[in-house]
């Protein structure tokens, strides 16, 4: 028995170590020929079993990737993250930026035939999203004054002060709308209804074989004329991305959402697949692989040391060798894909060992007899192990001895964000559709706490705090961008953390499918298949 537990533990360690790193990030257009036509079925690889079909109670990517096709948000975010109508046809924003009025699409029906109305929206937010959807709760609870449903086709969001990024928070990933008549009086986290989902979305649940597949069929009563075009979606659960790619090549499935670097060239050469770069996806988008410096530990508390590190780390090498060129070297705290907020003209630290040595000398860290200045412990998830190995070589050149501590991902996050026991940590910080969603949490001083993916560096700068508040409290993009530009200038000088690579994921699918919204939760609402 003891041997069995030991073997099981060993197997788990091996399995964990082999867990593929998550990919994210970028956009590109896909060409499509001819017009959409009805019919057909698409088999999609899902990396995880969804477990249930209520995307409003979780931010888990595995649930959203599958379940989002059953629901709608008030807003659909297009490829450029611009808000487009979904359940809401149009919206007005008051001049003071404190009141948003949404006019809902009339005549929308739930899958069970009941009419959809503003009461469902109010209920979804008040009873489900603001209680259980971690990002929506963290983002809106403090700023929202109330939600009104004056008539069945109108919803009004009232804020305590002007609030800019609301529309980016209302797509099906951030705020799926669930049915009031289904969940009233139930604990939405335990309800059986989560396995018998009733949504408004383009597809309805037909079959769920746990751990194996989920089959959706067309919602014939969908409120967008003609859509969806496909009769059936099958999500096939395949945990390993290399198995997904092999299955795609054998024609067992039609769509994979993460192509590992070594497989990409083969698929591109094959010619039978459409390959799209995307920085977005369920559960996170526009992610930057970032080094987190523990600012409370010498010598990293000195900005000269952090600048020295910046000059010494060869990020291009990391991009080429670890990410197989999938992505870009990070240039500032906000991803370049959020074009209106990204500031490309911040302080730059091109690779320069001489400059690095100068700064480290100036910081008073002298080399010992063996050439070493000091040791730093790099606590990281095993998915960042190759980055650690490269950095160890790169930093050795300027006299820094980087000690590598590779842990299972949850254990590494625990050391970095909860116990704060690290010199350098690493995380993939996903920016989300707006800096308010994914960037603010990394730099504001009231988010230094035992929270995952928070301000892990322990960075405090009152001016930065103030600028994030300014940016959130405006509905004017120009004004918001100005605040974000200044934040990026300050962060590039202070370097509380160091963005390495803006990662990008490659999605691939059989060429006969067109118009996939691969950046969004509603993957296949507009998708169609050539005969």
């Amino acid at each position: 028995m003891r041997a069995f537990i030991g073997q099981l533990a060993l197997a788990l360690i091996v399995a964990t170590a082999c867990a593929p790193p998550s990919v994210g990030a970028g956009t590109s257009a896909v060409a499509s020929g001819g017009g959409p036509r009805r019919g057909g079925s698409m088999v999609i690889a899902a990396s995880a079993d969804p477990g249930h079909f209520n995307p409003a109670i979780t931010t888990a990517g595995g649930t959203h990737f599958v379940a989002d096709s059953l629901y709608n948000g008030l807003i659909f975010l297009d490829e450029k993250l611009e808000p487009k109508p979904d359940l809401a046809d149009r919206w007005d924003i008051s001049a003071d930026g404190r009141t948003y009025t949404f006019h809902l699409h009339p005549g929308v029906k739930w899958h069970d035939g009941q009419p959809f109305s503003s009461a469902d929206v109010k209920f979804s937010f008040e009873e489900v999203l603001l209680k259980y959807h971690a990002r929506t709760k963290a983002g809106l609870e403090a700023v929202l004054a109330g939600i009104d449903a004056p008539d069945p086709d109108t919803v009004i969001f009232r804020f305590k002060q002007a609030y800019g990024p609301l529309l980016q928070r209302l797509d099906v990933v951030e705020a799926p709308i669930v049915a009031k008549h289904i969940y009233t009086g139930l604990d939405p986290t335990k309800a059986d209804a989560n396995l018998k989902p009733v949504g408004t979305g383009p597809f309805k649940l037909a079959e769920y074989v746990k751990g194996d597949r989920v089959r959706f069929e067309r919602n014939d009563a969908y409120f967008k004329p003609g859509r969806p075009y496909l009769d059936e979606l099958v999500f096939r659960i395949i945990p390993q991305s290399n198995t997904q790619v092999l299955a795609l090549e054998r024609g067992e499935i039609d769509y994979v959402s993460g192509i590992p670097g070594p497989d990409l060239e083969r698929l591109q050469k094959n010619g039978g697949y459409t390959i799209a770069k995307s920085g977005a996806g369920s559960g996170g988008s526009f992610c930057i692989t970032t080094l987190i410096y523990n600012l409370s530990r010498p010598p990293l508390d000195r900005v000269e040391v952090r600048q020295g590190l910046a000059y010494a780390i060869d990020r291009q090498q990391i991009l080429d060798q670890v990410y197989f060129g999938q992505g870009r070297v990070a240039t500032s705290a906000i991803a370049s894909t959020i074009t209106w907020a990204h500031n490309a003209n911040v302080a730059k630290y091109p690779l320069d060992a001489g400059r690095a040595n100068q700064l480290l000398d100036a910081a008073g860290t002298k080399r010992a007899a063996d050439g070493t200045r000091f040791k730093l412990e790099f606590v990281h998830a095993t998915s960042f192990a190759k980055i650690g190995e490269l950095m160890r070589q790169q930093l050795a050149a300027v006299g820094i001895d980087l000690q590598l501590t590779a842990l299972e991902v949850n254990a590494a996050n625990d050391r970095t964000f909860i116990k704060k026991d690290f010199d350098i940590g690493a995380a993939s910080y996903c920016n989300g559709p707006d800096p308010e969603i994914g960037v603010r949490r990394v730099y504001v001083s009231n988010n230094i706490g035992p929270i995952l993916f928070s301000n892990g560096a322990g960075y405090r700068n009152p001016r930065v705090d103030q600028l994030f508040d300014t940016a959130a409290a405006s509905v004017d993009r120009g004004e918001r961008a100005k605040a974000y530009y200044e934040i990026q200038d300050i962060v590039a000088r202070d370097i509380p953390d160091w963005g390495l690579v803006e990662t990008e994921g490659y999605r691939g699918w059989a060429k006969r499918f067109h118009d996939l919204s691969y950046w969004s939760g509603d993957l296949a609402e507009a998708a169609w298949q050539e005969p």
């Binding site: 082999c18 079993d49 888990a60 099958v234 559960g283």
Partner: protein, 320 residues
């Protein structure tokens, strides 16, 4: 016999209880927090506090254990944090797939192992024997995750003889007898992967046991009275060789379960192994606990069955 079984089952209770308590503390003291994992990239302190209170994780560990045991006695093993359903419902969905995979691997490896072992023993010293010995040494040194990948690349992706993944065809599964063939087609590679280690062990045991048995006097007698070589092996050699094989097959039930975790991940097989892997990554405590209970009970049961079979095959062993 019945009394023996009852006694053995009673003895299993303290063992299971000890396993339960030990795994409870092991799982809870492992770094990583289910609440922060569940919240993912988002969440704030208030969300964490609410979730901890909801799952009872805000109480001291011994108190959590007491509550868990009290509920378990009443048959309530809790809700999965991730699946939000009673844990045994979640497990029950996955049992058939794993059972099918494990039993197939077990049956195949035992049958093929006996056949190959017998062949090697009869051809002792000939090329066939040497080939079998080399192959079994290689097989027992090959990790399942590597063998699985190689089989997929060669026989599924390369030659196209078998599907790459899954238990059934995702695109319009066939019905009736076609469905059975479909599952068998999907089952071949994972069962081979999972059974290969066991196959090697059984082959070597049978080979060495039979080589010894074939030198015994009673075998010479059987030959002398004119039995064919095949009958000598089947009726006189093998039965005495099978006892250690039963022990190995039964005793390796745990190894098989462990191997199933890796095999299921490689082949996207919808069974318990993958559930265990996912539950570990998400620190789904109630589900992990329940799975350890299921695994422990299975292993204890397998050991009991092994002992009982032993008693039936060998009249010298008295079960009382």
């Amino acid at each position: 016999m019945a009394r023996y079984v009852v006694r053995r089952m009673l003895q299993a209770i303290p063992v299971l209880l000890a396993i339960l308590v030990a795994t409870f503390f092991l799982i809870h003291t492992a770094p990583g927090d289910p609440v922060t994992i569940l919240a993912g990239d988002g969440g704030d302190q208030a969300y964490y506090d609410a979730a901890r209170a909801r799952f009872g994780l805000d109480r001291p560990l011994p108190e959590q254990l007491a509550i868990y045991l009290a509920n378990a006695v009443r048959g309530d093993f809790g809700y999965s944090f991730v699946h939000r359903r009673p844990v045994f419902d979640v497990i029950a969905d996955r049992v058939p797939a794993t059972l099918l995979l494990m039993l197939t691997a077990l049956a195949f490896s035992t049958a093929a192992g006996i056949a190959l072992g017998a062949l090697a023993a009869r051809r002792s010293g000939e090329p066939a024997d040497h080939a079998i010995v080399v192959c079994t040494v290689a097989a027992s040194a090959t990790p399942a995750f590597w063998l699985g990948q190689v089989l997929v690349i060669v026989f599924a992706a390369g030659l196209g003889w078998f599907p790459v993944q899954g238990m059934t065809t995702a695109r319009g599964s066939p019905a009736g007898p076609g469905a059975v063939l479909d599952v068998i087609h999907h089952l071949a590679l994972p069962a081979l992967t999972l059974g290969s280690l066991q196959l090697a062990l059984v082959t070597r045991l049978v080979r060495s046991g039979l080589r010894e048995a074939l030198r015994e006097d009673y075998v010479r007698t059987a030959r002398a009275k004119g039995l064919t070589a095949r009958a000598v092996v089947a009726r006189h050699g093998l039965p005495n060789t099978l006892l250690p094989v039963i022990t190995v097959v039964g005793g390796h039930f745990g190894t098989l379960l462990t191997g199933a975790v890796l095999t299921e991940i490689i082949f996207a097989w919808p069974g318990l192994g993958r559930l265990l892997y996912d539950a570990t990554l998400s620190r789904d405590y109630p589900l992990l606990m329940a799975m350890f209970i299921v695994a422990s009970v299975s292993v204890v049961t397998a050991n009991l069955l092994t002992d009982l079979t032993y008693g039936m095959l060998d009249p010298r062993v008295r079960l009382a």
